[in-house]
């Protein structure tokens, strides 16, 4: 898998404040990589540095395996913070400027405006747009050159629920075409729905990174109940791979040790002759994992 972005020991100080602190991470081709963190955790500063608009205090980064040059940014579609366009120009004219900067033709403009649902308003000045429409236009601008890499900083900021759903769908659709997406958000649900990998930042420091699937499985619990709860209880007690056990509303909720699947556990129960009336996997949300990570980092 090709390395798209490699960040090494990146640090940014604003006076005494370390906005980003010795951050290293790697994004590979095809990843939908979420950068998570509370407000002020250094997400946007990090993206600003790899886009050459914020000067790093120390450390470095490489795009496409090479030291960064201006042309590497032409292969990246990026939005950073709030949408920035010429307010007196129409959407179409704004995108024509972007196309000129990226040295691309203007033939893709109508297509991207259709994609974000702004085609009917393309002749209107940017300043007449609502926040949600502005946000859509910046996504259109990012898509304009059909880049292999997208950087989206809080892309659903300011959108209504329908808009959020549409943009998520769009991101998933783009990701399914094999594009690499780097995605900053403080909305966990969003990351859980679209990302393959994620890193968690806190006060400029990376406190976790890994795949979303792994993180969710780590937190998976199993609900069981039976008409004969006593024999179920003793069976569970004898199963060596149970890590946690609690009971809730007449059900047992248990967590298996790493490397044990629900299937393994169920097979064991069948061997023991325990008949279940209820068996369910309880997928925990990334939110719980995230809160746990933050909590652990406090220790």
């Amino acid at each position: 898998m090709n390395n798209i972005l490699k960040i090494s020991n990146l640090t940014k100080n604003y006076g005494k404040l370390k906005a980003v602190n010795d951050l290293s991470l790697e994004v590979n081709e095809g990843n939908v990589y979420g950068i998570l963190g509370p407000n002020g955790s250094g997400k946007t500063t990090t993206l600003g540095m790899v886009l050459d608009v914020v000067k790093p205090s120390s450390g470095g980064y490489a795009w496409f395996g090479k030291a960064p040059v201006n042309d590497s940014r032409k292969k990246i579609g990026a939005i950073l913070e709030s949408p920035a366009f010429y307010p007196y120009l129409s959407a179409e004219r704004n995108l024509r400027i972007v196309a000129k900067i990226k040295e691309k033709g203007a033939d893709n403009i109508d297509h991207v405006l259709h994609q974000v649902g702004l085609f009917d308003r393309k002749q209107d000045a940017f300043r007449t747009y609502s926040l949600g429409m502005k946000q859509r236009l910046s996504i259109a601008a990012a898509l304009l050159a059909d880049p292999p890499v997208l950087i989206l900083d809080e892309p659903t900021n300011g959108l209504d629920p329908q808009g959020i759903a549409e943009i998520r769908q769009l991101i998933q659709q783009i990701a399914s075409r094999g594009k690499t997406i780097l995605f900053a958000s403080h909305i966990l649900d969003e990351v859980q729905k679209v990302c393959t990998h994620f890193a968690v930042l806190k006060m400029g420091r990376k406190i976790y990174d890994g795949s979303v699937e792994e993180a969710m499985n780590q937190n998976q619990k199993i609900e069981v109940s039976s008409d004969e709860m006593d024999s179920l209880k003793s069976a569970i007690d004898n199963f060596r791979y149970v890590e946690e056990l609690e009971s809730e509303n007449g059900k047992f909720i248990l967590k298996l040790k790493k490397g044990n699947s629900t299937t393994d556990f169920h097979r064991y129960l069948i061997e023991k002759g325990v008949v279940l009336s209820h068996l369910a996997e309880r997928k925990s949300s990334l939110e719980q994992k995230f809160l746990k990570i933050l909590e652990e980092s406090n220790d």
């Binding site: 886009l51 608009v53 201006n70 032409k74 990246i76 920035a84 366009f85 307010p87 900067i101 040295e103």
Partner: protein, 273 residues
């Protein structure tokens, strides 16, 4: 280069404020540069005479004097041309489009060049306009006609072009440094019209400032620009003037032109945009 000019052009061509400033500048320039003779007639009607000379017979628009006379008058208008540069640059900072341009793949050097193409284009337009203005006024009023007279002393137009380019580069630098258009406009106005002239007058005449420092004066940012085209009008009362563009003055101004643009690039590279 053409790509960078086209980017700049697309930013401006649908911007109403730009066109208003643009038209106002040329309108003002046209009115002032064309009214020399009306002014003289007005002065005459008020009873003015310059050491016994009838003002209306002064050959203001005679070839080749016309070039120094109108380029000298036009230099006062460069402030209005600077507004266009100031607004165009501070807009990019306030709209955060400078930042977005960089994110989209423009280098900081390319951004500088794209704005410099605007500066050079404005200077070319102003110079061509003055050439046509001088040509028309000369054809109407000049007592001497003929290509050899018309084409003499055109170096004043070249000097005017250089002066505008350099002054607009100073406006560009201040805009990048200060970021707020109102502040930049006031500062540029005050510095050009009050602060530096005040310093120069003091250096020349204040007995407490030693004359050994006078060599600095021609190197000052505005004084060096003003030295390119010297005041021509005293010659009509038989005073000696410098009626040519001196190479040393040109070199000093070229030096400032390089300094301003290099500083812009330095600031853009050092700063978080």
């Amino acid at each position: 280069m053409i790509r960078l000019f086209e980017i700049e052009w697309r930013k401006l061509k649908n911007y109403r404020v730009f066109w208003i400033l643009f038209v106002l500048y040329f309108l003002g320039l046209a009115i002032v540069c064309s009214s020399g003779m009306f002014l003289m007639e007005y002065l005459k009607s008020k009873g003015a005479d310059f050491n016994g000379i009838d003002p209306t017979i002064l050959p203001l628009y005679d070839f080749p004097d016309v070039w120094q006379n109108i380029t000298y008058l036009a230099t006062f208008f460069k402030l209005f041309l600077a507004f266009i540069v100031i607004i165009s640059v501070t807009n990019e900072i306030n709209y955060r489009t400078l930042r977005q341009n960089i994110i989209d793949g423009l280098s900081k050097r390319e951004f500088l060049i794209s704005k410099f193409t605007l500066i050079v284009s404005l200077a070319i337009l102003a110079t061509v306009f003055l050439f046509l203005e001088g040509l028309v006024m000369g054809m109407i009023y000049s007592k001497v006609q003929g290509v050899s007279y018309v084409l003499k002393d055109l170096d004043f137009l070249a000097a005017y072009f250089l002066e505008v380019c350099t002054f607009l580069s100073l406006a560009f630098l201040l805009s990048v440094l200060i970021k707020k258009s109102g502040f930049v406009i006031v500062l540029l106005f005050m510095y050009t019209l009050i602060f530096e002239p005040f310093v120069v007058i003091n250096m020349e005449h204040n007995p407490h400032i030693p004359d050994t420092l006078d060599w600095i004066i021609p190197y000052l940012p505005i004084k060096s620009l003003n030295n390119l085209i010297r005041v021509p009008f005293q010659k009509y009362v038989f005073m000696k003037i410098q009626d040519f563009v001196a190479l040393a003055d040109v070199l000093i101004v070229l030096g400032w032109l390089v300094v301003y643009n290099s500083l812009v690039l330095l600031v853009l590279k050092k700063r978080n945009v």
